[in-house]
């Protein structure tokens, strides 16, 4: 593998891990709100979260460009006040991946929260636990396998995200050129087939590794739970 190819792999992993780690707390919070919350506008929030799943990725990427670009209302605010820049940076790629992976993550976590018996939660309440403590000590441990599944889905989606990323932050080698972008570039130049095939292989290995890892983790949690 060439140095450029390694760079693309490293960048992809960095982007995917950042996207997953940063969106996980929000994913859990939104999933909890959708699973347990009763508030006005819940279906609107639900639709908003799922929007990236049904919109063409290019549209999502373009909306991100409008909002988070150098001149975008949010992008300008973040740059001026916190010095955070998304446009044409790897952080932008991570943001695009997080947005694209968010619906998958929320869906998995929400389903597992809904599967937690609310009667256990009210039992914890009668023992004196504040609702936040109930969530941390009862709900979260019992839906942990769903949280892991959601994180893995988001990670896998991030590894493969192409449309929104390339629209939002372009395809800059060493900065925003992730695995899919690198493969796409290689297929566009003469004699790039071998490189494209190598990166495809790497992509398959990482995805399978993630899936296998989540299976093992979920099994360990399951075994821990039924162990006597």
């Amino acid at each position: 593998m060439t140095a450029e190819e390694w760079t693309a792999v490293r960048l992809s992993l960095l982007v995917a891990v950042t996207a997953t780690a940063c969106s996980l707390p929000f994913g859990v919070a939104v999933a909890w709100l959708l699973a347990r919350g009763r508030f006005w506008g819940k279906s609107f929030v639900d639709t908003l979260v799922h929007l990236p799943l049904i919109l063409p990725p290019v549209v999502t990427g373009y909306l991100l460009l409008i909002l988070f670009g150098k001149r975008g209302p949010i992008g300008e605010f973040l740059d001026e006040n916190f010095g955070i820049v998304f446009a044409f940076r790897w952080t932008g790629a991570a943001l695009a991946c997080a947005v694209m992976g968010f619906p998958l993550m929320v869906r998995a976590i929400r389903l597992s929260i809904e599967a937690v018996d609310t009667r256990l939660e009210s039992a914890a309440g009668t023992l004196g636990a504040h609702p936040l403590w109930v969530f941390a000590t009862i709900t979260l441990p019992l839906c942990l396998s769903g949280v892991i599944a959601g994180a893995i889905l988001c990670f896998a989606k991030s590894m493969g995200e192409f449309g929104a990323t390339i629209t939002f932050v372009s395809n800059i080698p060493g900065e925003t050129q992730t695995l899919p972008s690198a493969i796409y570039t290689l297929t566009q130049v003469p004699g790039g087939d071998a490189g494209a095939l190598r990166l495809t292989l790497v992509s398959v290995i990482i995805s399978m590794g993630a899936l296998l890892g989540s299976e093992l983790l979920a099994r360990r949690i399951g075994a821990h739970r039924v162990a006597t």
Binding site: R119, L120, G125, R225
Partner: protein, 352 residues
């Protein structure tokens, strides 16, 4: 401790309306399924917000719809033992027991320390096991311990024995009795079993179709016709055991009773529940019969119920109810004031 309840709650077409003040000891909420017992304890425990009303424990108001006051369940310090134990599956027994302790530090309450509760409930050997591997009876004992260790000032028990078979019930009942007598925590106990109520309760609140129909001491309330299938309760003490025939003799105000051998030692207080249909009446002292118990009494009241009648006897101050046919009432001319003899077979006593 006093629990003062005065609430109305509407849910769909069901209307629950309850007003009562409970005394220390065990207050039984008694009624058929669907009468609103569970809804009522859920309201006391803070799991349901009543449509209207007021609930106070020891003068502290927990719910007052007029003041728009509602203390959430985690700040009520009311323990709750559910019918389906609800142990946390990801924690072992010890962690389940200690769960409430995290939140109850420094709030006083009943002094229930870990070792004495574990000993009281006989769960020392289960501490490192997971709830999934426990039997139904063991689960309920752990659930009782868990509620107790959160230092509640009132314990709610919603049919804690309903999901268990006869043998498991007999296993747990003595623990609840010890809880009543030793732990000093007042209990609001939901049940539809007369035998359980007779054995455990100090005060009985009878619910029917969402309304409280009677409140009072168990000895006065249970003989009422609407208290389940009819029967009476005698306060007795164990006099002695007959090892040869496996029979225990009890003394009560009404006289001596011989029942199948009980486990408790002589001198212990025992409540005997006598079903009305197990009592036979005779105008003369019966002789040469197999039944071991013959109690003399005077008829206080005859309550006809169609083809049958409940005859309430006054046996030296104790109330005994006999269910006989209308035909027997006429044939024997059973009427208030008449002296009769109540005949009860020893084998008809329930071993609860």
């Amino acid at each position: 401790m006093s629990l003062d309840v005065d609430i109305d709650h509407r849910h769909g077409t069901f209307h629950l309306s309850a007003r009562f003040v409970s005394q220390p000891g065990v207050t039984a909420l008694f009624g058929r399924s669907g009468s609103g017992k569970t809804t009522l304890v859920n309201i006391v425990g803070g799991l349901i917000r009543p449509t209207r009303g007021r609930i106070a424990v020891d003068g502290q108001i927990l719910v007052d719809s007029e003041q728009r006051l509602f203390v959430p369940k985690h700040r009520r310090r009311i323990g709750y033992v559910f019918q389906d134990s609800r142990l946390f599956p990801h924690l072992n027994v010890r962690q389940n027991l200690l769960y409430g302790r995290w939140f109850s530090r420094g709030n006083g309450g009943a002094a229930a320390d870990f070792d004495s509760v574990v000993e009281l409930l006989g769960i020392a050997s289960l501490l490192d096991r997971r709830p999934g591997s426990l039997s139904g009876g063991e689960k309920q004992r752990v659930a009782i311990g868990r509620a107790l260790l959160a230092h509640p000032r009132l314990l709610l028990m919603d049919e804690p024995l309903a999901s268990l078979d006869e043998a498991r019930r007999a296993e747990i009942l003595p623990y609840i009795e010890r809880l009543r007598d030793k732990a000093g925590v007042p209990i609001l106990y939901v049940s539809h079993s007369v035998a359980e109520v007779a054995r455990l309760a100090t005060t009985v609140v009878i619910l029917a179709d969402g309304k409280v129909t009677a409140v009072g001491p168990v000895l006065d309330i249970l003989p009422l016709a609407d208290a389940g299938d009819g029967g009476s309760v005698l306060d007795t003490k164990i006099a002695h055991h007959d090892e040869r025939f496996q029979i225990t003799t009890l003394v009560s105000a009404a006289g001596e009773l011989q029942v199948p051998r009980l486990a408790a030692p002589p001198g212990s207080s025992v409540r005997a529940y006598i079903r009305a249909r197990d009592v036979m009446l005779s105008l003369n002292p019966p002789q040469e019969i197999s039944a071991l118990n013959v109690l003399a009494g005077r008829i206080a009241q005859v309550v006809p119920t169609g083809a049958q009648a409940d005859v309430r006897l006054d046996c030296n101050g104790a109330i005994l109810v006999a269910r006989v046919t209308a035909k027997s009432v006429q044939r024997l001319a059973l009427a208030p004031g008449r002296a009769v003899y109540a005949v009860i077979k020893s084998v008809s006593f329930e071993r609860s």
